[in-house]
Symmetry: C2
Subunit: 322 residues, 2 copies
C-alpha cells in the first residue's frame, strides 16, 4: 500500500544482451534518474542479477531516496517470462534456461519484483504514458533487428495463458517465404524488421549501380541501414521507393492481422524503422486502409511510439503500478 499523502517511486530495469539500463520512475512515468552497467556476457545469471539488484539500490541512494520510497522493481527482458512464478524459462540472448529470477533478485534486494518480456513492456509503457495512453487495448510492433509485439488488453500487459503470446514477429505472412531464425519460413519479421529493410536495400543496390542509396552509404554496402533506404525513398529514388513500398506492404499485412484478430483500439509502431516518422506512418496507413475487412467500420488507429528507448525502463517500472 502506498503511504497516504506520499507518492511512491518505481524502479524499471531494461535487461539487454549488451547493457542493463535502470531508471527510478515516478507515478507519472517520468524517469527521475538513470544508471546503467554492462551485461558483460558471457557469464552466469547469478552475477548478472546481483549487478541488477546493486544497480537498483545505487539508483535509489544516488537519487537521495530510501528503499522505503520504492513500491516495486519491474524488469523487462528479451525472453519468455512467467511473472506468476518469477521464473524465466528462456532468454536466448543471455543463454538463460529456467532461471529463478525473482528469488535470485530478492536475495539481494527486498522489494516486490515483476518481470515481463521487453516488447510487452515497451507496449505497456506506451499504453501507460505514451502514444496509446488512454486506450484500453493496444498492440505495439517494435520494428528493430526483429519484430516484437507488445499487447495490452483491458489496460494490462497480455502475454497469454502460457506466457508465449505476443510473438508477432513470428506470425507467418508468406508461407514458404524467407527462412526465419525460428525454423519456419515467411515470418513477419523476415519482411517487416529493420534487418529486412536493410537486406532488401542491399539486394536492390547490388542490382542497380545508380540508386541514390550508394551515395548515402558512401559506396559501402556494410554501412547500409534502415535510414539509408528511408532517406533515399524520401528523395524519391525509385529503387529505394520500391524497397520501401514492399516493406510497407508487409508491415501493413502484419497490422491487418492484428486488426482482424484482436481489433485493438490502437496499433503503435516503435523501434528503429519507426524513426522514419510520418513518412512511414502515412505510407502504412495508406496501405492498410484498402485491406481492411469491414471497410465502413472504424478500426484501430495506427500511431508512432512516443517514448523511444525509454519505453523499456518506463514500462518495466509501471509493472509495479498495475
Amino acid at each position: 500500500m502506498m503511504p497516504e499523502g506520499e507518492s511512491m517511486l518505481y524502479i524499471g530495469i531494461d535487461l539487454g544482451g549488451t547493457n542493463i539500463a535502470a531508471g527510478l520512475v515516478d507515478e507519472e512515468g517520468k524517469i527521475i534518474k538513470r544508471l546503467s552497467t554492462p551485461t558483460a556476457m558471457p557469464r552466469p545469471y547469478a552475477p548478472i542479477i546481483k549487478d541488477m539488484a546493486d544497480l537498483a539500490a545505487r539508483l535509489v541512494k544516488e537519487a537521495g531516496y530510501a528503499l522505503a520510497d520504492v513500491a516495486a522493481v519491474g524488469v523487462g527482458m528479451p525472453g519468455i517470462t512467467i511473472d506468476k512464478t518469477g521464473m524465466v524459462p528462456i532468454c536466448v540472448n543471455l543463454n538463460w534456461r529456467d532461471v529463478p529470477f525473482r528469488d535470485e533478485f530478492q536475495k539481494h534486494l527486498n522489494l516486490p519484483v515483476y518481470i515481463s518480456n521487453d516488447a510487452t513492456v515497451a507496449g505497456f509503457a506506451e499504453a501507460m504514458v505514451g502514444a496509446s495512453a488512454k486506450t484500453s487495448s493496444s498492440v505495439m510492433l517494435t520494428l528493430g533487428t526483429g519484430v516484437g509485439g507488445g499487447i495490452v488488453i483491458h489496460g494490462k500487459p497480455y502475454s497469454g495463458k502460457h506466457c508465449v503470446g505476443g510473438e508477432l514477429g513470428h506470425i507467418i505472412i508468406r508461407m514458404d517465404g524467407e527462412p526465419c531464425t525460428c525454423g519456419n519460413r515467411g515470418c513477419l519479421e523476415r519482411y517487416a524488421s529493420a534487418t529486412a529493410l536493410i537486406r532488401e536495400g542491399r539486394k536492390a543496390m547490388e542490382a542497380d549501380a545508380d540508386t541514390l542509396m550508394w551515395k548515402l552509404c558512401g559506396g559501402d554496402l556494410a554501412r547500409v541501414n534502415a535510414k539509408t533506404v528511408v532517406d533515399a525513398a524520401k528523395q524519391a529514388d525509385s529503387v529505394a521507393m520500391k524497397v520501401f513500398q514492399d516493406y510497407v506492404k508487409a508491415l501493413a499485412t502484419g497490422i491487418l492481422c492484428v486488426v482482424n484478430f484482436i481489433d485493438p483500439e490502437m496499433v503503435v509502431l516503435g523501434g528503429g524503422v519507426a524513426l522514419a516518422g510520418d513518412f512511414l506512418l502515412h505510407a502504412v496507413r495508406d496501405a492498410l486502409a484498402p485491406m481492411i475487412f469491414a471497410k465502413t467500420m472504424p478500426y484501430a488507429s495506427v500511431e508512432l511510439a512516443q517514448l523511444g528507448t525509454d519505453a523499456g525502463i518506463i514500462g518495466a517500472a509501471m509493472l509495479g503500478k498495475i
Copy 2:
C-alpha cells in the same frame, strides 16, 4: 436477477441466411426445445426480426413455460454486431446495414437481448459447455464455407474495441496468394476452409484420372466435398493425401498465428472439415508442433469442437449468462 431457488432459462437464436434456428436452453447449456423457420430472403429486416421474436415466444409457450421463466434472448448472426448499442452495422448475407436489432426485437418481445457474431458465439458455446469448457481463454476456428474465428478471453466472448475482431479467416498467410472475397490475397480461408479443400481436391482430380477421389464422388466433380478428399486421404490415396497435407499445413499456419499472437489455453476446430475427426486433429497437431516458437514451452492444446451445429443456439443463449 434470478429468482432464488429457481433456475432460469435462456433463448438462443442462430440467424442464418437460410434458416432461423431457435432453442430454449437451460442453465447447463442443454437445449430443452427447438424450433426453426425459414429466413425467407430476400425481405427487409423488420419481418425477419418479428419472425425471430414470434419464434422465441412460441418456443417458450410450446415448452410449457412463461416468459417470466426466461432470463434473456441471445442471437448469433453472420455479421458485425455491437452488443453495447444493439446495432448490426453489417450483415452481408442478409443485406443488412445499420439495423437496430435490439430495438426492433424488443418491439415484439420484452426480454433482455444480447447479440454477437455467429463464429464468436460458437466459440463461446464450446468455452461454456463444450470442448474448451473450464478454460479461461480459447480460440475456435470454424472450418466451413469460410473460416470463422471465435475468441474467448477471461471467459468472455471477445470481439475487440470496434467489434471487428475475430475475423481469423482474413489474416493473410500467403501474401500475393489466392484472391479472396474480401479483396485481399492469400487469406487463411482461401487455404483452410472446406471450400479450399474442395477446390484443391478438384484441381488434383483434373490432373489425375486415377485418384480414388473420382470413385468416391461417382465420377462427378460437382459432387466432390470435403469428405471426398478426407476419405480418399484416409485410404492413403496419394493424390488426396497431398491435397490434405497442404490443407493441414495452411491450417497449422493459421493456428500458429493464434498461438504466437494471443497464446490461448486451447484452440478448438469446428465446422464441416472438423468432421474428419482425429484424422484431421492428429495431422494438425503433428504439423503444428515443429512450428512452435518456444519449442520447450507448453502451448495451446488443439481439440475438436463437441457441440456441432448446436453451438450456434447454445452460445447465443449463454450470452445472457455472462
